[in-house]
Amino acid sequence: MSNAVKELLYKMADDALIIGHRNSEWTGIGPMLEEDLAFSSMAQDKIGHAIALYTILHEVLGEADPDTLGFKRTEKEFKSCHLVEQPIGEYDFSTIRHFLFDHAELLRYESLTQSSFQPLAQLAKKVKGEIKYHVMHADTFVKQLSNGNEESKARMQQALNNTWHLALGIFEAGEYELELTSNNIFIGEAELKKRWMEKVTPLLESYGLTIPATDESKIAKGGRKGYHTEYLKPLLDEMCEVTRTDIDAEW
């Protein structure tokens, strides 16, 4: 059973670390001061979530320490989804990604408060309160920009069209779905995807956006198995640059 829990924790932690790093790329260049602060604060929250999950992997499941897991693994060892590794692009893309990802995060952590794996259930009770702020922020901006002028509306729809197949990749099934669900550790990616669709579809439609048609073959899968887009490697190179200059240095 511990392999199943490890798989779940690794993909959640890696998603949080990578989106945290991407969010931090808005620091200093946000379109306005409040947004600069928002993405920077969310980056700090996400990296905190990643550390907490890596800490469970280390302390409860015997994996390496959080710094090693965060900074000393290869690209292939990361189990993040393709959505989080995309460059920040324009603000429309980052905002749509933030909306789609954080709604999935909130539903994931809400369900995990009931997990039979206690360390994760306890952490989830804490994390969901923080993600609620991220979701409120995403809802506010997606709504405002989708109801702005013609250009902003067109850009939000275009961003949604470009991002939808990436977001569906969040729910790529792992090797241990049955074990996780039958032991009440996690509701499983299929159920999570269902809840997410039920949540984001009416919201986006109420903002006047159209949900893009889904072609199953276009869904961005592979991240959960260690197959990434061209964007993860450069991100890791930058994020781990200092560590790699002297991998065994003591801080």
Binding site: E34, L37, Q122, G129, E130, M136
Partner: protein
């Protein structure tokens, strides 16, 4: 003489709590870690060989709180001064902090400091309405608005008061 396994005859838990009152949150210097409600357990014991141990458990306000290591160190230093051979300070999520866990009086101290305190959640979940009616710590008007749910630290939001035309910060309610 019979050996006493209970250190409370030497240093009581009350004295540990009193020492913890001296430890401040570095991001909110008017509140102690006790005011914040982040100390979830305090204990002390003596081993068979007479070694005294104090154990303090804390819970972070936010998972990614960068101040927690500093606070752990300060807690360690203050409690060590009481003369324990060993002091163990842990931070975990066994008890999850929420803003209702602030001690009585803490909210008044926050407001005096210029930081609007979090409204009571009464044990429930955070709602958008609770972000509406927040009193300005400067002029006490409730004619204020949320400018950003994210501020200069993870636990602060930025607000604006229409009455005194001042921006101000709020300690965010968190469920």
């Amino acid at each position: 003489m019979e050996k006493d396994n209970n250190i409370t005859t030497l240093v009581s838990e009350d004295e540990i709590w009193a020492a913890l009152e001296k430890v401040q949150d570095p991001e909110i210097p008017v509140l102690s870690v006790v005011d914040m409600g982040i100390i979830t357990s305090v204990g002390c014991r003596m081993s068979d060989v007479g070694c005294t141990t104090a154990e303090i458990v804390m819970t972070p306000t936010f998972v990614g709180c960068p101040a927690i290591d500093v606070m752990k160190k300060s807690v360690y230093d203050e409690v060590k001064k009481l003369g324990f051979d060993e002091v163990i300070v842990k931070a975990d999520f066994d008890v999850q902090w929420n803003s209702d866990m602030m001690k009585p009086g803490a909210k008044e101290k926050l407001e005096k400091f210029g930081l609007a305190p979090p409204p009571s959640l009464d044990g429930g979940e955070l709602t958008a309405e609770q972000l509406d009616k927040v009193r300005c710590p400067h002029c006490h008007s409730t004619d204020t608005t949320l400018r950003s749910a994210f501020g200069s630290t993870l636990c602060r939001a930025i607000r604006f008061c229409f009455n005194c035309k001042q921006g101000f910060e709020q300690f965010k309610p968190i469920s």
